[in-house]
Amino acid sequence: MPTMPISGSARTWGTVVVFLLAHLASACAESHAEPHSPHPDDDVLRYVPDATAANDLHLPPPPFTEGAFPCSDCHDPELPVRTRRRELKWAHKEIELTHDEEHRWCLDCHDAENRDVLHLANGTPVAFEESHLLCGQCHGDKHRDWRAGVHGRRTGSWNGEKSYLLCVHCHDAHSPAFEAIRPEPPPPRPRRTP
């Protein structure tokens, strides 16, 4: 569990996201009836995150649940992959996809050939550590704002090092709309002295 320097509900969402994310990867390989052809060049798939870019933004690690990553622990690359859209019955049942679900399925984002990474629309693999690149494909305006420090929570120094958060620290990738949260109590109303 990464450090979430905020209290209450934000931390709760984080946990939920962690849980969901960690299980999504294995969900897509739930049934192994489909044929599977491994990538010819294994080295390309072993994507190494761009450490300098991540450091520049001071990104915390993605919110995985302990022990859930790497996904390949369950998703045996030797098994065939099913790309057909279907109801998940065995694993990841708790995932409710409300993120353009008409057009999207697990393997649009999760890489079928290397379960431990994501991929962009053009097939370029992207590490979970840099998942914002994936989000930015569709949400370019948000991504631009985020990069400028204007979308999302920013902590640290206004004239120095800032801490960024990944999109998935606040948004459940499968259901990104913000959940309602419990507010702090209202201020007391002023009372007259008799």
Binding site: V150, R153, G156, W158, N159, C170, F178, A180, R182, E184
Partner: protein, 293 residues
Amino acid sequence: MSCEPGLSRRDFMCAVASCAVAACTDVTHTSFFRDRLRELSTADIAAIVADLEREYRERFGKEVTVGTEEAMDGVEFAYALDLSRCVGCRRCEYACIEENNQSRDPEVHWIRVLEMDKDKGIDFAHATPYYDAEEVPRPGHFYVPVACQQCRNPPCVKTCPVGATWQEPDGITVIDYDWCIGCRCCMSACPYGARHYNWSEPEIPKDEVNTDTHILGNRPRPRGVVEKCTFCIHRTREGLYPACVEVCPTGSRKFGNLLDPSGEIRYVLENKRVFVLKAELNTRPRFYYFYGV
């Protein structure tokens, strides 16, 4: 806080008025018989800080540092708040209370989060800070947090009869708590309800007091004076974000140097459409509201 050495009003007042103030509880050389902070020399301010730190140590049983950091060159602070993201959770309101040593009894809240109706827009007459909900945002509503707007043309500064409040070079309007006479002209003048008065002795539990303070900001205040948001002057003059920015779970709150072309604020001004509250009053706030979506 510039220096004006030489003839000391303090000495004069010491001689003249020492008998007249027997009834006061906090009569000390440094707090009572002194000039405004902005006129005092560095040495005078150091003496005041030492007195304050001693007083707070006795009162809270721990070391409280009273900083005197001055405005940085080339810095003008500004704030931007994204109304399409604020959910009205009031995390900022309470983080502000803890960070800035606001009184817990009676409760002083520098930030007021107003709930407004979506079909009415920004309409204070139908707004309330007292919404009590299980969950926010509530359907049909949006939220407008309001605190000091750090005006470029502050009516509060204009109206203060003794010049106890002024704009610092970095744009923060501050109050000299030991010079304020508590007449509350500034509260009448403020169009944003940003100024708050200590109607009785402010109470801060010993274990909750924030020991990192600034002399013009969050140091524990005496009774009978006015206080307000200072953009967390004790944090921001050290390069940190204000507490409300750090705590906001939706990232609605943006802060930075207006003079830095690559900063967040300039990005917002350039790429979003901003507005200020009650623009018709020509207060020219440094606190911008925008719709990020």
